[in-house]
Symmetry: C2
Subunit: 248 residues, 2 copies
């Protein structure tokens, strides 16, 4: 029998990329506060991610969690990220530990390190051979309150990993778009993540052996300033796309 | 005229250490949710640290903030630290920026890195020449949910520093006790902070020039595994105490 995976925030774009490619690879349980707009490949739970009772139900017999739920707007207010992203992520880890879940894969964001994109570095930062390469070991420098909330999720996961032993992977997702990278937008090309590379990366997070990881989720772009070496080495990530292949 | 400093959580022990030594050095505004148990050396505001309206009043004309308020129990619940420590600290930075405050000194904690105290390292870690020296550049590994909330405060400060330019010092406070260090407790001796060193360190955080700092707040103990070199170099910290001078 396939492994049972709980996917929170499944109705968003990252969930779409994952399910398109992996809907038959795992048994899915789906959680979102929006009622399903389409049939998902598993039982759907509808509720807020801070609904701890519903989370506990959804977590029963689950082996792994991919936690995408949260306010994903870069301009999200503090009140919203405090509830939906910070409290919501602690609720997921708390329920995961109670249910003896083996691993949690957390959708972090490039905005966790947005303040490395200073005026002095941009736009050189977005071009091959730029002035900086981030690899996940640098101190977080969130670029907005949404980014703060993503760093908090990584820290919450660090604690639950250390205290309870479950594996935790934090994927700092770049710019996910279907088909081709954003045009006339160097930043988006530097952190492009294709749909198939996204699904493959999350699959590796479900399959590989690791303790606690912070990795960048981008395709193998020529322009990159996020290293994908750690994802390759530890997770066996093998991206197939490169935004340079789509430039005029 | 003396600089006006807002001290939140002034009725606790850290506030006591600071005010005993520095009550005549600055003009103080005092904020705590407990009504004053004693006359403080300044105007007292009584309210929750998440009371943004009251914080805005208390912040008027303030040059610097020392932010101590929060649930300081290592066993504090998630609900308590989410409100009092996480939301409360964002409220302080938000009000500080709105009031054009020059700097915020944040009371972080040794519990931000409590999970470095693993079974393999303890008790050697608490003895001179131990296996590890933390200096504030290491990745946080909080030892409890209280520690998680302190790391979050540091990250919130990082964002407000980068975005708005105010200076931010995070003091990871050790084991503050009056007169002498804890007896028969090696951990407490390794991270002892005397009252006078505490007051001096916070005074240096009010006086020195810096951008964003994470430093450890301990006396110059022989046993230390927290480096105080950064506090010496950047802040001019000159501790006078050493827990070894109090051992039998």
């Amino acid at each position: 029998m396939d492994r049972l995976v709980l996917l929170t925030g499944w109705a968003g774009r990252v969930g779409e990329a994952i399910l398109e490619a992996l809907h038959t690879e795992y048994e899915w349980r789906l959680f979102d506060r929006e009622p399903p707009h389409t049939d998902g490949p598993g039982e759907a739970y509808v509720g807020d991610i801070t609904d701890r009772e519903l989370l506990t139900e959804a977590m029963a017999d689950v082996e792994a969690v991919i936690h995408l739920a949260g306010d994903s707007r870069r301009e999200a207010s503090w009140d919203s990220v405090l509830t939906n992203n910070i409290d919501g992520t602690q609720a997921v880890f708390d329920a995961a530990v109670a249910a003896n879940v083996d691993r949690v894969v957390f959708a972090s964001s490039n905005h966790a390190v947005g303040w490395y994109e200073t005026d002095e570095r941009v736009p050189a930062l977005y071009r091959p051979g730029g002035p900086l390469m981030l690899d996940g070991t640098e101190a977080p420098r969130p670029g907005n309150l949404y980014g703060v909330s993503k760093v908090v999720g990584e820290v919450v996961g660090r604690y639950y990993h250390d205290e309870y032993g479950l594996s935790v992977a934090n994927v700092r997702i770049g710019n996910l778009s279907r088909g081709q990278p954003p045009q006339d937008y160097e930043r988006g090309q530097a952190m492009w993540l294709s749909y198939r590379d996204c699904a493959h990366l999350f699959a590796r997070c479900l399959e590989a052996d690791y303790e606690y990881e912070i990795i960048y989720g981008i395709s193998d772009n020529d322009r990159k300033y996020y290293s994908i070496e750690r994802a390759k080495d530890v997770l066996g990530y093998e991206p197939q796309d490169n935004s340079a292949d789509h430039e005029d």
